[in-house]
């Protein structure tokens, strides 16, 4: 197993399956009256959030607590130059406090990579979203959710041959980058759908297909993942108006009806209802949006457990 989780590309197929299978095992905890394991007792996990993200932070916090780790939440808003302490000084402080793992969210792409490789800290670094780069635990929870919904026996299964369509602002999306990498590793066939302005230069070299048309992709999709699209993007001419975006790339009920019976609709949240996804779609039975949140905790437990415990059996320390 790897020592840090910075990119979904860090995970081999075996690594990814180990995380997902461990998460599957840990998910059983949720059905028990006491939802807690003593596995990481005495270990310290720091949630270092340079960017607001309550949902990701509480997901990591719940994950660490269910494994009995001590959790320190450190929110350091603002970048190092504009205000206050630098990333380096913050890291040195955490190191001095004896952090075993640092979960970092930062607006600068590569900030977790810097933390992990600059020699500032010794603990494991988990990327909880960096700029427009990656968000590997989101991809893991998405894969976990797909596996549960689409396969009969999730444990041990990959996503070979599953067709996943990811729609929206790929250019600025760390979720899309991590998902393309992880889903490819797990054997899925990914298609990115977006207006040309929201696809990065060089996307043709990614291990996926791309399309500018949503309608043509729906009938063959097992999964449709809608990405959040910020309305402000239209001010930078990425698209003319929210309405036009919604018309061409939004998932509404009529588009949803083009999906095969078994297909699911995903969204990493937070949603712009009425923009990329219609309310009736978000609230439909195909939607896995609430499930994704639940699964996020299991997957993050698995990641922290595997990075920190050095064992592959979560109940071994009981």
């Amino acid at each position: 197993m790897i020592t840090h989780l910075l990119s979904a590309a860090d995970l081999s197929r075996d690594d990814a399956l180990l995380v997902l299978d461990t998460a599957e095992e840990l998910a059983q905890l949720a059905d028990r009256p006491i939802k807690k394991l003593p596995t990481l007792r005495g270990r310290t996990v720091v949630n270092l959030f340079f960017e607001d993200s309550t949902r990701t932070r509480i997901s990591f916090e719940a994950a660490a607590k269910r494994l009995s780790a001590d959790v320190i939440n450190f929110s350091a808003k603002g970048s190092s130059v504009s205000k206050g302490e630098s990333l380096k000084d913050t890291a040195l402080t955490l190191e001095a406090m004896g952090a075993d793992a640092v979960v970092v969210r930062h607006s600068a792409s590569g900030a977790p990579h810097r933390l992990a490789h600059s020699g500032w800290i010794r603990g494991a670094v988990v990327n909880a979203g960096d700029g427009t780069h990656e968000h590997p635990t989101q991809a893991l929870l998405d894969a976990f959710t797909m596996r549960r919904r689409l396969t009969d026996t999730p444990t041990g299964s990959d996503l070979a041959g599953r067709r996943v369509t990811i729609v929206g602002d790929v250019l600025h999306s760390r979720v899309a980058r991590s998902n393309v990498l992880l889903l490819h590793t797990l054997g899925a066939e990914v298609t990115l759908v977006a207006p040309p302005t929201l696809l990065p230069v060089g996307v043709d070299t990614w291990p996926c297909a791309t399309s500018y048309e949503l309608d043509g992709e729906l009938a063959k999709s097992d999964v449709v993942m809608m990405l959040r699209v910020q309305r402000e993007r239209m001010n930078a001419a990425y698209f003319p108006s929210a309405r036009e975006y919604s018309r061409r790339y939004g998932l509404d009920a009529s588009r949803m009806s083009l999906l095969p019976e078994h297909a699911i609709v995903m969204h990493p949240g937070p949603m712009n209802r009425g923009m990329e996804i219609a309310a009736e779609v978000a609230d439909s039975t195909r939607s896995t949006i609430v499930e994704q949140v639940t699964n996020g905790v299991s997957v993050r437990m698995a990641v922290l457990y595997l990075l920190l415990s050095g064992s592959t059996d979560p109940e071994a320390n009981q």
Binding site: S79, S80, V81, S86, L87, K88, H106, S107, A108, S109, G110, A111, H113, R114, H117, S118, D130, G131, T132, H133, E134, R174, R177, P200, V201, G202, V203, T205, W206
Partner: protein
């Protein structure tokens, strides 16, 4: 006046020759030369080149003396084989008045390591709104001939046209930092395959090429002289080749790092590799080398950009852009151009001394190594190999991208008007 005899130096890499330096000039060339009461320098195996001239140096003084001063920057220059540097205008205060350029020029004279030729800002405060007093700077003691808003592009087409026209009155040249600002807002690295993967905002080649294309046309239209700073893309080379084929008065420079390093280094997220313009692809590097070899690109200019440790020891997006260059430039050119067979030492002399001096209208530099010429020259040991240690550099800053890397060649001695500024590889 102490005279020097340099024994057995290979002039421009050619035959071993003795040089007698006296009264600031090359007094004699030949073999078996000796004089009494002179210092003898054993130059056996060393290559003699005219003193190098840098068209693009950031000395940071006034304003950022924590990163570099005229004293430390020119010491680094001398150690790198330079006898003259052009100090860029983006200081604080900006070098946009006769007062500031004269201050920088005077600091250079006091330091004495090499000649400092200040570059004047094109626009007041580099703000790109109205012309600075270019004539006053040209007429000042600093005798400014190169004008640049380097660090910022003169993006307004009318302002650029006027600047090109105006400098004709005193034989000036506008050195353009070609970067279309709207296409590069928040840009972090070369836009390409890797920027998409790394999630770093892309800096498209077209942002440079579009400005160069516009400016060569403007230059032709008003019959002036344009110099293009730090060309970094294969497309820019094509435009320059076309402009030169038309006979237009356009020159260009390339930095050593754009001749050697590629955007792949951004994958480390180590801001030591963050620079403006960004490191480009291997294909761009090849095109730049070829263009320098065939003369489409006239000069190597360091874009020596010292930054304090704090400005580099952080996340990529927060880091300052730029890297040191003066003390490694000649070695990088040896590796990228000489050892690849693209340029011989005469070619190196032309691209690093003769042409830059001519572009800057710099008298007394870049002249051939001939009897009677000013004794500005450098002795290089091309067989040396040295590992770059950031803490052994004379610059006040440490942001070299070559730390730990072994580069070929070493400057053994630098002479400024017959006086050694560097001898045995040490600052005098």
């Amino acid at each position: 006046m102490i005279a020097y005899v340099l024994k057995g130096a290979r002039l421009l890499g050619g035959e071993a020759t003795d040089l007698v330096l006296e009264d600031g000039r090359i007094a004699e060339l030949g073999t078996g030369l000796s004089r009494s009461g002179v210092e003898v320098v054993d130059a056996d195996g060393l290559v003699a080149l005219p003193g190098l001239v840098d068209l693009h140096t950031h000395l940071r003084e006034p304003g950022r003396e924590d990163a570099e001063t005229v004293e430390t920057g020119t010491a680094a220059a001398a150690l790198g084989g330079f006898t003259a540097v052009h100090a860029m205008a983006n200081t604080d205060p900006v070098a946009d008045t006769a007062g500031v350029v004269e201050q920088v020029w005077r600091l250079g004279r006091e330091a004495g390591h090499c000649d400092v030729r200040p570059v004047g800002a094109v626009t007041v405060g580099l703000a790109g709104e109205r012309l600075a007093e270019l004539g006053a700077m040209a007429d000042s003691a600093a005798r400014v001939r190169v004008f640049s808003d380097d660090g910022k592009c003169v993006s307004d087409a009318v302002l650029m046209r006027r600047a090109l026209e105006y400098v004709k009155a005193f034989g000036g040249v506008v050195a353009q930092h070609a970067q279309e600002p709207r296409l590069t807002e928040d840009a972090q690295m070369n836009e390409g395959e890797l920027s998409g993967v790394l999630g770093l905002a892309g800096w498209p080649a077209v942002a440079e090429e579009a400005i160069i294309a516009r400016d060569v046309l403007l230059t032709a239209h008003v019959g002036s002289r344009l110099h293009v700073c730090h060309v970094s893309t294969a497309g820019s080379v094509e435009i320059l080749r076309w402009a030169k084929s038309k006979g237009w008065n356009v020159t260009a420079e390339v930095t050593p790092h754009h001749l050697l390093l590629t955007d792949e280094l951004a994958a480390t997220y180590d801001p030591i590799y963050k620079v403006n313009p960004p490191l480009r692809t291997a294909d761009d590097v090849t095109a730049l080398r070829e263009a320098l070899a065939d003369g489409t690109i006239d000069a190597v200019a360091t874009d020596h950009a010292p930054h304090s440790h704090e400005d580099k020891d952080c996340e990529w997006a927060a880091a300052a852009m730029g890297m040191l260059g003066l003390e490694t430039a000649l070695s990088v050119v040896q590796e990228a151009m000489v050892e690849t067979g693209l340029l011989d030492w005469a070619g190196v002399a032309d691209r690093m001394s003769t042409r830059p001096a001519r572009i800057g209208r710099l008298d007394g530099h870049g002249t051939p190594l001939a009897v009677g010429a000013p004794a500005n020259l450098v002795l290089v040991d091309p067989s040396a190999r040295r590992e770059i240690d950031p803490f052994a550099l004379a610059s006040r800053s440490r942001n070299t991208p070559y730390a730990g890397r072994t580069l070929p060649g070493a400057v053994v001695a630098t002479f400024l008007r017959g006086k050694p500024t560097v001898l045995d590889g040490k600052l005098q």
